[in-house]
């Protein structure tokens, strides 16, 4: 796999606050990489470090397998925090400045304005834009020249539902063309819907990272019921992966410390002479996983 971004144990301290602590991440080509964490978990600080806005206190990072330079930043399109443009210039002029810096021609400007739905307002001054339009112009500027990597910090923050849907579709379209996307978000739902990979941050530390599909498929609890409830409880306690159970509800919820599959568990009961009247697997959602990870870290 071709490495796009490799972060190796970077740290950043603001006075007494440890914003990022020995964080390591690997992003490879074609991934939609979500950096998920509550506010203040170090997402924006991390993105600011890898874009040379903030100096780290230790550690290093590489873009495209090489030490970072301004040339590597020209291959990246980014939206960090608020959209930053000259309020007295129109959208087109603002994008021309971006194109000048990136050594691009102006022929791509109309395309990105069309993609973000701003074509009709391209001659309007930036300060006359609504918040949603400003956000879209920031994304348009990031898309200029088809960058190899797109970095988005809370891309749908403050947008209305229609705007959110538009931006999410746009991200997926861009990703389908092979652009690697690195996206910070505090919204699980967003990461779940868009990303292929995720790293969960809390207080500047990485708690977990992996494929979103794997995180979602972790199954750690089952609901059972049987006519002989006591027998069911006695038997399940003997299962090698048994962790705990909750019998206060209608069905008996059992937690396992390892992944078990429904077929195997059914066979186990059958071998021990228990006939189940109910068996269902509870898939733990990323949200639960996220909250648990955060709680364990408190």
């Amino acid at each position: 796999m071709e490495s796009v971004l490799s972060i190796n144990r970077i740290s950043k301290q603001y006075g007494k606050i440890q914003a990022v602590k020995e964080l390591s991440l690997e992003v490879t080509k074609g991934q939609i990489f979500g950096i998920l964490g509550p506010n203040g978990s170090g997402k924006t600080t991390t993105l600011s470090i890898i874009l040379d806005l903030i100096k780290d206190d230790g550690g290093d990072y590489q873009w495209f397998g090489e030490p970072p330079t301004k040339e590597s930043r020209k291959r990246i399109g980014s939206v960090i925090e608020s959209p930053n443009f000259f309020p007295y210039l129109n959208a087109e002029m603002n994008l021309q400045i971006v194109a000048d810096i990136k050594d691009l021609g102006y022929e791509d400007i109309d395309r990105v304005l069309r993609l973000t739905g701003l074509e009709e307002r391209k001659k309007s001054k930036f300060r006359t834009y609504s918040f949603g339009m400003k956000q879209r112009l920031a994304i348009a500027s990031a898309l200029l020249g088809n960058p190899e990597v797109l970095i988005l910090d809370e891309p749908t923050n403050g947008l209305d539902p229609q705007g959110i849907a538009h931006i999410r579709n746009l991200i997926l379209t861009v990703a389908s063309n092979g652009t690697t996307i690195i996206m910070a978000s505090h919204l699980l739902d967003e990461v779940q819907k868009i990303c292929t990979h995720v790293a969960v941050l809390s207080k500047g530390k990485k708690l977990f990272d992996g494929k979103v599909s794997e995180v979602l498929s972790i199954s750690d609890s089952f609901d059972f019921d049987s006519v002989e409830r006591e027998e069911l409880i006695r038997v399940i306690r003997t299962h090698p992966s048994f962790q705990s159970l909750d019998s206060s509800k209608e069905t008996i919820q059992v937690y396992f410390n390892k992944e078990v599959n429904p077929g195997e568990i059914n066979a186990f009961f059958f071998a021990n002479g228990v006939t189940l009247t109910h068996l269902s697997e509870r898939k733990r959602s990323l949200e639960q996983h996220f909250l648990e990870l955060l709680q364990n870290n408190q």
């Binding site: 600011s48 874009l51 040379d52 806005l53 903030i54 100096k55 301004k70 040339e71 930043r73 020209k74 980014s78 960090i80 608020s82 930053n84 443009f85 000259f86 309020p87 007295y88 210039l89 002029m93 021309q96 400045i97 971006v98 000048d100 810096i101 990136k102 050594d103 500027s141």
Partner: protein, 276 residues
Amino acid sequence: MIKLLKIEFKKIRTYKIFWILAGLYFVFLAAGIAMAEFILNNMVDSMNKHLPIPVPHVNIYFFPDVWQNITFFASIRYILIFPAIIMIILISNEFTFKTVRQNVINGLSKAEFILSKLYIILMISVILTIFLSIGAFIIGISHTSELSTKLIFEKAPFILGFFITILTLQIYGFFFGFIFRNTGLAIALFTLYTFIAEPVLYYFLKSPIVFKNDISTYLPINAILRVNEYPAIPVLKKLMGLNLQESITFGSCMLPLFYSAIMIGLVFWTMKKKDL
């Protein structure tokens, strides 16, 4: 360099405040130069009422003195403040709008960002110097009866002094913009320093009680103003016992350049150290 200048021109081309301030600067500059002789002669007239032997009217627009006089009146504090304030605004705006962050994110190095501002300062200084040279030349031609090449260009080096004055003053503004990053604060501090703090300090340092040697002339703004210290008006020499400059001196040009070099160094250093 051309790429960076191109970007800078885009930033100011449709920026109204820049053009309003530039327009005001030209009005003040033109008015200052046009009215200087009139005001001086009014002063002479009022003085003559108390003098037994009347002083003749001054004449400041003929060759070769026109170079020295025009650059002197173009270099008084009240007129010079405009280019400095324009520079403060152009730089602090980048921090207010956070466009400096965006420029770096998009692939400009911090050093290139600083250089782009220095290039535009250089460009403005060259344009203003050429503009003033043409102005002085035309005024000189129309006010001098007998022209000779030697006479015309004798004091032309004063134009170089004006170039250094306008260049270094903008670099002071550049310094304030980069260090304070906030438009209002930077302008307020710069104006306070130029019109109040340094003049007070100047008189304080000048009094022999404080320091044996007079170091008041080394103050940064004063160093700039001393590049072309007095207009070429012989009557002033007689009345006030001033030593008039015949030409600009190397030392007086180097001092503001020295301050500018330190300020540029400090800007590079803070931009490297501080987060954007």
